[in-house]
Symmetry: C2
Subunit: 333 residues, 2 copies
């Protein structure tokens, strides 16, 4: 193959809801690296909820994705041609290569990976950005204490599954929230949650109440919406709520609202939004811990794999609706 | 006078909105102190927004006010009869005597005041609970840095006026929010706010935007509602929002909702509710600083005085609607 394929962001969601029609697949000649660059052939593409926000015009915590350019995305790949000192063909590298088969990258934009530590795609999941996200939200905001009750939404997802396991290791009671019995079973049996409540259950609030007899001391929130409202009503004084994602509410132009805001005062809650890239100084410690856990077999995760670049758009929008089970990846080779 | 007069909480707000009809004035014989008690004749009664929450049945951060008992309230008074060692007739004392002319109090429930430091009623305002509330929210949650922009709602109120002055002293730009030109003028001319925006202005949001050209780094929130929504849209990344009161939204059975919740994630806000009594260990430092400022004439405040116990209910509900200008007090003698 001597050409690259890429999905460009072709249009922004507007009156028509976001969907695969917002992307355009293009085929372009394979680029050649300039001095200081390496050409990387991608093995795996990561699909993550933050990408939905980048499709919008409005600036959120990052600049919007530019139209007509390859959609942003984390990738693991191998160097095929290098004019970047220290990088040689065959090197396994983590980067932000985007929704495409190949990318060029310069110094500071590639991280060499040791293939003996973990399968390459793990660096897009529990050992990479999603795992560090879980670590930061849990340890920097929630700071769970032994015996406390911590609720984790999207508990089997790329971030939630790590958050649930880390909270458990901190000695907390962990109550997962997930969609459907299969995910809930995984949360309890594999991730070690003390209970998992299916947010699709019509009596979700009652079930959550029954699962949290001593109230809730922390919430790792990936979703927002009604499950969050219900969890807030269970909060004990001084509970900490880490807002990692509001996928249920905030990405489609509708603003994410909170009905139960008064509880913030009544229970003296701390509600804090965070983005894992805000403090890169936390990454080494987080990744060291996650890698150590992984090495001992104590870090479990699931993945949902879409095959081939062409499958990326459908897989992405399915993921936003919870259609994935664990980390959503696209296998490019 | 040999009798006591007291306002009891007679009924809770229900279908009929809260109002003076919820209180009942009773006259009772003057009590006599038991061993370990002092009888205090109140000079001043403090009226504070938290009292509205106590009228409700539902537990918030404190137990509800019991029906048929004198309404809770901070008081400054003088000891008239004492069987409490260390307290003698004529001593000026701060306590929680409630909405009545006299009260009995035991050890730990009275604090002797030095009449040379400040007029007695100042201990119900900037040197007492409201002042310490401002100090705690500002220094423990917002932590203003020099050059940052801090918004203070109810900026001329008992708490807000102190918060505005402390933020100014920390080197922050202070933007007050208050109701009407007279209060706004006081916020700027006397409290030292850089600007004050009248929340009654139909173009409030535009005015707030114009007053915060560099965005907002902290909000000291006493009110909630639309001004808070507007201030949130002005927040810079990592802004801190101290939720001290939600008087506009949360006390009438309607839950306080937040429309602009998504900004919590987009701007990585920290939103934290607090109650000044949660950490009494902070009081000595706070009161020492406030007293020092007061001594140098650098701590300004306004008061609105209702004359006589009978005026308390009307004054209280007027205050909840912003009818006061500064600290709302009832002068009992």
């Amino acid at each position: 193959m001597t050409t690259n394929k890429a999905f460009l962001l072709d249009s922004r969601p507007g009156e028509r809801p976001a969907g695969p029609h917002n992307f355009r697949l293009v085929e372009t000649p394979l680029p050649t690296p300039d001095e200081g660059q390496a050409l990387v052939r991608h093995l795996w593409l990561s699909l993550d909820p933050y990408m939905r926000g980048r499709m919008n015009e409005a600036k959120s915590y990052a600049e919007p994705q530019k139209l007509g350019e390859p959609m942003i995305g984390g990738t693991v790949g191998e160097v095929v041609e290098s004019r970047l000192p220290g990088y040689a063909p065959g090197d396994l590298v983590l980067g932000m290569g985007g929704w495409q088969l190949y990318s060029l990258a310069g110094r500071g934009h590639l991280h060499k990976l040791d293939p003996r530590i973990a399968p390459p795609e793990a660096w897009l999941g529990p050992l990479g950005m999603p795992g560090v996200t879980a670590w930061v939200g849990l340890h920097e905001i929630i700071e769970p204490q032994a015996g406390e009750t911590i609720v984790v939404s999207a508990a089997t997802g790329a971030v939630g599954s790590v958050a649930a396991q880390l909270a458990r290791r901190a000695g907390a009671h962990v109550i997962g929230i997930a969609g459907g019995p299969e995910k809930c079973a995984f949360a309890v049996e594999t991730l070690g949650a003390d209970a998992c409540v299916d947010h699709r259950a019509p009596d979700f609030s009652e079930r959550l109440k029954a699962a949290t007899p001593r109230g809730v001391d922390g919430i790792f929130e990936n979703v927002g919406g009604e499950p969050l409202e219900a969890a807030l009503t269970r909060c004990n004084p001084f509970a900490r709520i880490a807002i990692c994602g509001l996928v249920a509410t905030g990405y489609d132009g509708t603003k994410a609202a909170l009905r139960n805001f008064g509880v913030t005062l009544a229970m003296r809650l701390k509600i804090q939004g965070f983005i894992v890239s805000d403090d890169m100084s936390l990454w080494p410690q987080a990744q060291a811990e996650l890698t150590r856990l992984h090495a001992t077999g104590a870090l479990h995760w699931r993945k949902t794999v879409a095959e081939g670049l062409e499958a990326a758009p459908e897989a992405f929008f399915a993921m936003l609706k919870g259609g994935n089970f664990g980390k959503q990846l696209v296998k490019l080779r």
